[in-house]
Symmetry: C2
Subunit: 130 residues, 2 copies
Amino acid sequence: MANGFPNKLMITLNDKIYTCPVDVTLGLIGGKWKLLILFHLHYFTRKSYSDLKANLPRVSEKMLSQQLKELERDKLILKNQLSVKPYRVEYSLTERGKSLGPLYEFISKWGIDYLMENNIDYIKDQHLYK
Amino acid sequence: MANGFPNKLMITLNDKIYTCPVDVTLGLIGGKWKLLILFHLHYFTRKSYSDLKANLPRVSEKMLSQQLKELERDKLILKNQLSVKPYRVEYSLTERGKSLGPLYEFISKWGIDYLMENNIDYIKDQHLYK
DNA sequence: TGTAAGGCCTACTTTTTAGTTAGCTATTGA
DNA sequence: TCAATAGCTAACTAAAAAGTAGGCCTTACA
C-alpha cells in the first residue's frame, strides 16, 4: 500500500476484533462510565459501593454495578469483601488499574485546562473536590 | 460530607452538564471512533477522507463523516480544502488536537503492553504499521 | 462512453446503552 | 418496631449510537 499502512491487520482477543492497540485499550476503558469510576478510585484509593454512587451522581445503580463487574472481570479493579454479616465491600484499583494512572491524571488535567480556556475556573468553583 | 466530596457540583458548558473534568474531556473525545481518528491523524500528520476510510476499516462512512464534523466543531481537527475543482480535502490536528498527543501515545503503548500480557506480540505482527 | 475514485449526505433499521421501577437480604440506630 | 443504609439484581422501557443502503456531484482514466 502506498501509505505504508496494512490494509487489514486485525487483532483477535477474547472473541473481539480490534484494528490497533488504541482500539484494544478502548475496549477495556471505553464507554461512558468506566474512566469516571477508575478516576474516582485512583483519586480516593478505595471506596465502597455507596460512596461511588454518591460521588457519581448521574450514574444509575444499574450502570454502576454493571460497569464495576466488567472492570473487575477485566482485572482493572478489585472488589474486597470487608465483612460478611453486615455485607460490606470496598473497591480499589489493581496493579493493572493503577498502571493507567498517568491517563487519569492527564485526562483530568486536560479537562481543567479546557474549562479554563472556556473561562470556567474549576479550581475556584470546586470547593472541597480537589 | 464525611468524605470531603461535594454532593452536587456540576459544570455547565455548551448546554451540557458535567460532574468533573474527566467527564468534560470524555465529552470531546469519548465515543467509539474519535480517539481512533485522532490517533491516526497524530500518527500520519495529515490524511484525506478516503485515507482515513481505508485505515479505519470498520468505521462506516456515516460515522466517519459525522465524527470528523464533531471533531472539527470542537476544534480538535482542521479540515483543509486542497482544491475546489476536483474537490480534495485533508484533515490534520489543530493545536488543541495536538495537545492530546501524550494521550494518544499512552493509550497506544498501553494497548501494546496489554496485548503482550496476553501473548500477542503486536510489534512482530504489525509489519508496516509502525 | 462508461466506470471508478474522491468526498460526501440522507433515510431507515438495528444494536447498544442507559434510565426507571421495583424488589431482595441484612444490619444499625432511634 | 420501624426506618434507613449498604449492596445489590431483575424486568421493562426509552434514548442514543451505530450500521446499512443508496444516492449525488465531479473528475480522472481506459
